[in-house]
């Protein structure tokens, strides 16, 4: 409970005061273990293919300002308060992998996003549960995200991407969900980077 203890002890007080909620953004819990075993097979395979062995698993709490910015991207809060991410490499080679989920029309689409230097290096649909819109799984669609970033990096309120994502006829909602998740991954990455450099 070493990292969760501050959250545990002061959860009520924090939630009662907005400034403390803002400070709560800094609460990232660290774990040196690899958690691939606890992941679904497709997520574990993506993790193994994208990062070096034994990446560190960490969490970002979606509270306070982060939560508000997430809502501005998704139009609703993310369904969980804490989001896991995995990192491997160092300095310019540091890669972060996010596994995020969003509802397409009725069901969750699980997406894996690898980010390096605030640019998406790779995006993959890990689990598609809807009956329609599966075309987003095609590499021809997901390749569009390679190399894209926010137009104005480190501006937490401008989430415009550097490239336009072409839609797919008949898969509008799935395309929208995946695009939102790509923005969400970039936003969360900015927060992680800002926390590390202490600029938040």
């Amino acid at each position: 409970m070493n990292n969760l203890a501050p959250f545990l002890e002061s959860a009520k007080q924090i939630l009662a005061k907005p400034i403390r909620v803002f400070l709560l953004i800094g609460l990232v819990s660290f774990s040196a273990q690899t958690h691939a075993a606890a992941l679904p097979q497709e997520s574990a395979a993506f993790l193994a293919s994208q990062l070096q062995a034994n990446p560190s698993k960490q969490y970002l709490w979606l509270t306070g300002e982060v939560k508000k910015q997430v809502i501005s991207i998704l139009d609703h809060p993310y369904y969980k308060l804490r989001v896991p991410y995995w990192q491997s490499g160092s300095d310019d080679e540091l890669k972060t992998l996010w596994i995020l989920e969003e509802i397409g029309k009725h069901k969750l689409i699980t997406v894996g996003v690898v980010i390096q230097n605030q640019h998406i290096k790779s995006l993959r649909i890990l689990k598609f549960r809807e009956s329609r819109g599966w075309e987003v799984k095609l590499p021809s669609f997901t390749r569009q995200f390679d190399g894209i970033a926010f137009k104005t990096p480190n501006d937490f309120n401008n989430t415009e991407l550097t490239s336009y994502i072409d839609g797919i006829s008949g898969a509008t909602l799935s395309v929208r969900a995946v695009t939102k998740l790509s923005k969400l991954a970039l936003l969360l990455q900015q927060h992680v980077d800002a926390q590390k450099t202490g600029s938040l």
């Binding site: 990292n3 969760l4 959860a11 958690h35 369904y79 308060l81």
Partner: protein, 245 residues
């Protein structure tokens, strides 16, 4: 058929046709503008209509009182008081610990804040034999999961259960919290939740099926065919009356 009978038949057919055409035109116009009218968003909760479509009306399957809050499941929807929880499955057990709440479901354990926000979903240990027969309990401020004489302890991040082979499973009876606290919801909350529970039946679907006849089942399209035949008969009788003038 003499002219008088033909005229009577034509008039009768015209009346039927007029009503039928009004019905088809109105439903057609509504369907054409379904998106802008948000007909697909209007949920139908009328028990008779739900039953007609073979859908079950909202039923409170499980409800538990915990820390002055209510956790309930209505059909496949979970609620924390009147707030929706993004969970699926059946509630097997609820455990409150410090300012957190843990809900053991069929396939995972939901980890919630004391105010009912989902913090994370914790997977069952990979090698657990019978997740549904497992039990969550707290001992010395540590959360454990036991199953078939094996114990797993929740790690420091509250993210996964780690096998604890040295742990001595206590012999005391572990409370089945979910079973002991399965209480009926207060009436006010019950009414509110039943109204909130989403329905898969939409006004758009009903209008569409009224339009194409399937509302009445397989016989519906045949009735519409009959109506089309009546239109043809009206046109033919009208042409004939006109030509005999």
């Amino acid at each position: 058929m003499n002219k008088s009978s033909a005229r009577k038949l034509h008039r009768s057919l015209a009346w039927v046709m007029a009503f039928g055409l009004i019905y088809l035109t109105l439903s057609g116009v509504l369907l054409n503008h379904s998106k802008s009218l948000d007909l697909h968003e209007i949920q139908i909760k009328n028990p008779w209509l739900l039953e007609w479509y073979g859908q079950s009306a909202p039923v409170i399957s499980q409800s538990f009182a915990i820390n002055q809050h209510w956790i309930s499941r209505i059909n496949q929807n979970f609620y924390w008081d009147d707030k929706t929880l993004p969970l699926q499955g059946e509630i097997q057990q609820i455990l409150s610990h410090q300012s957190f709440v843990f809900i053991r479901l069929d396939k995972q354990i939901a980890f919630l804040s004391g105010s009912g926000e989902l913090i994370d979903l914790i997977a069952f240990p990979e090698n657990i034999a019978e997740p549904n027969a497992s039990r969550l309990f707290v001992n010395q401020q540590q959360i454990h999961l036991i199953n078939n004489d094996q114990a797993w302890s929740l790690n420091a991040d509250y993210s996964e259960f780690v096998l604890n082979s040295e742990y001595q499973i206590p012999t005391f009876k572990i409370n089945k919290v979910a079973e002991t606290n399965n209480n009926p919801l207060p009436e006010v909350l019950k009414t509110k939740l039943l109204a909130l529970t989403p329905s898969n039946l939409t006004l758009e679907k009903i209008i569409l099926e009224l339009h194409n006849g399937y509302f009445l089942g397989p016989i519906g399209p045949w009735l519409l065919d009959l109506f089309a035949l009546l239109i043809l008969m009206t046109i033919i009788s009208g042409i004939r009356l006109h030509s005999k003038k």
